[in-house]
Symmetry: C2
Subunit: 336 residues, 2 copies
DNA sequence: CCGCTTTACGAAACCGCTTTACTAGATCGA
DNA sequence: TCGATCTAGTAAAGCGGTTTCGTAAAGCGG
């Protein structure tokens, strides 16, 4: 494989000149440039990235840390980040942490190892300070979708509180009064925000929030499936449930199916995320849509700014939108 | 940031010794080892990967090239590959080609650039020889799911022909005789195999294959949506359709919905892939399941063998399985 | 035609690790 | 006690680029 030396030899210049020429750091007379071009073509020369990286200390790669790349929400996000990165000449390193702290730590260590220039980080387990300590005062990390308290890095979030408010409000406007809520694991910023939005809508409408219609603790469908069955067992079950993520909704719908409760006739549901394909569900899911594409692109752009020594906004809040489909109906008077 | 030199200085040995010690290429007396360990801990030393890579010429990273990471099928596959790679100490570079030849070429060039040690490649556009030429006689590429004719690299495929046969057979066993088929783009091995399986089942059952019930050309849902509408316009429309990928099925179901034809009452459908979440569709989709997890893991293992200088099997055919759900019923006598 | 500025490059250090080839000193067998 | 073998390392040469500093020659204004 040809090196820059071989090219230099062939073009009758020094490696220095070749290097500077291909990096556009020098203007060369046409004849010299032509000789170098010819040599490069003749030898099929491509710079050894590893050498270049060692020399410059930059990898032109960033890490994208998601809880689980197989989930459509994250996959869609990864796709957007990758596309945006590609535009800027960056490649991306994927890692799925499976919500495992050790894997999250390993991902952060890649920064230290100079594996990547920067990191776009998403987590969905509450930090006990470990991640925060690892991120410390790094200037090459961006948080998206979920917070890690105590770190001073740019964040790109969505309007969780407002989204949850809108979702709940939508159910209220449809006539529901007994509205259940199933949220994610405790200690997460987005989870708390969504809960707050739900509570605000309920309070504002003067509706009672029954503790037995409130659940939370996990994003796993199985958790929300069980919670749903519990809801149904209460004296006056809710006529609608707001599930604060689409995977939570999947569990809710499984629970309802299991209990033979039909959606939306007997129970209305609204989700949060609006991940791809839920419009094909049975019924098509009404949900708050997170602007996944924007989340990914702006996340990358913030990181890119950091890497270019610029200062991106420290907090970006992206708007969410209610997507009306068929999982909500007016409550039946008289219950099941 | 501490270098191996700093560690050596602190531990009172040479950098050589430190290097060999941390790479397990030398046995050191306990006291020396302890000094080095202490120095590493004290200085929070982590080897600079870039330097190590330049020196060894290995990146311990592989590329994973998929058409579109946002699609659940590929996302699931990426997840499996990543997990398996992680187990072996490899990281993965993702790229979505969006079925764009230029992006595929760029991905392959990463090999040349020493960006990655090897590549797991998936394509879904027929090669005109470009990709084959680029892959040439490389010993660090593995093809999964789809062939690129004319290259001598290990392949991990699924039993496309048998799967299509099973799907068609399942429809025949349910009583269908007029069975439409919608396939993917021409020139692709998997597409042709699936078509062959369909034709074999039809022939074996003595059923007539009507040209007007045969379509193909694209994986895009919009294509199959339109093809479905065409099927419905024929004199005697099919009572069942085999769609040779789940995205094709999505289009088929959109078309049927548009024409107000209900599944499975008026039309049965069977898909191929069984990507995640289709069990939540309306109706839950009956499909041939590709062993996505195994595809990913075995793909990585084949590549890992290559990189270790071993010779993996040149062709692995993974079995597929029919997953029965609710998109197939017996045909209604008398049509719509 | 002399001093100054451009133009067009090059020498060498450096990035931080790995690895080959080698050695000083200790041990050991005869 | 002497050569052979082992132990415990080391010096130095890469890996293939980038970058800083510098210079020879040409151009040029006065």
């Amino acid at each position: 494989m040809a090196t820059i030396h071989d090219v230099a030899l062939d073009a009758n210049v020094s490696p220095t000149t070749v290097s500077r020429y291909i990096n556009n750091r020098i203007e060369l007379p046409a004849s010299t440039a032509a000789r170098i071009d010819a040599a490069i073509a003749k030898l099929d020369y491509r710079p050894n990235l590893l050498a270049r990286r060692l020399s410059t200390g930059r990898t032109e790669a960033i890490g994208l840390v998601t809880p689980e790349i197989r989930e459509p929400f994250f996959a869609e996000l990864a796709s957007a980040v990758e596309d945006e990165a590609d535009r800027h000449g960056y490649t991306i390193f994927m890692s799925s942490t499976r919500s495992d702290r050790q894997r999250e730590i390993a991902s952060l260590n890649r920064l230290h190892d100079r594996h990547v220039d920067g990191l776009i980080m998403m987590t969905n387990t509450a930090d006990d300070g470990t991640l925060a300590a690892l991120i410390g005062r790094r200037k090459n990390v961006v948080l998206i979708d979920e917070d890690i308290p105590g770190v001073a890095v740019p964040r790109v979030f969505v309007e969780n509180e407002i989204g949850a408010y809108k979702a709940t409000r939508y159910l209220i406007d449809a006539g529901h009064e007994k509205i259940g809520y199933i949220g994610g694991p405790g200690g997460l910023y987005s989870v708390e925000q969504r809960r707050a939005g739900y509570l605000r809508a309920m309070k504002e409408a003067g509706l009672k929030v029954r503790p037995e219609h409130l659940a939370g603790g996990s994003f796993a469908p199985d958790f929300s499936r069980k919670a749903t069955l519990e809801f149904l067992k209460t004296r006056t079950p809710p006529t609608a449930i707001f599930g604060s993520s689409d995977y939570i909704i999947i569990g809710i719908m499984q629970g309802l199916k299991q209990a033979d409760v039909s959606v939306p006739n007997q129970m209305s549901v609204v989700g949060f995320d609006d991940m791809p394909l839920t419009e094909l569900f049975n019924p098509p899911l009404t949900a708050i849509r997170q602007p996944i594409e924007a989340l990914g692109r702006q996340g990358f752009q913030a990181l890119f700014s950091l890497l270019s020594g610029k200062q991106p906004p420290m907090l970006t809040m992206l708007p969410v939108q209610l997507i009306e489909r068929d999982s909500v109906a007016s409550p039946r008077k008289g219950g099941f």
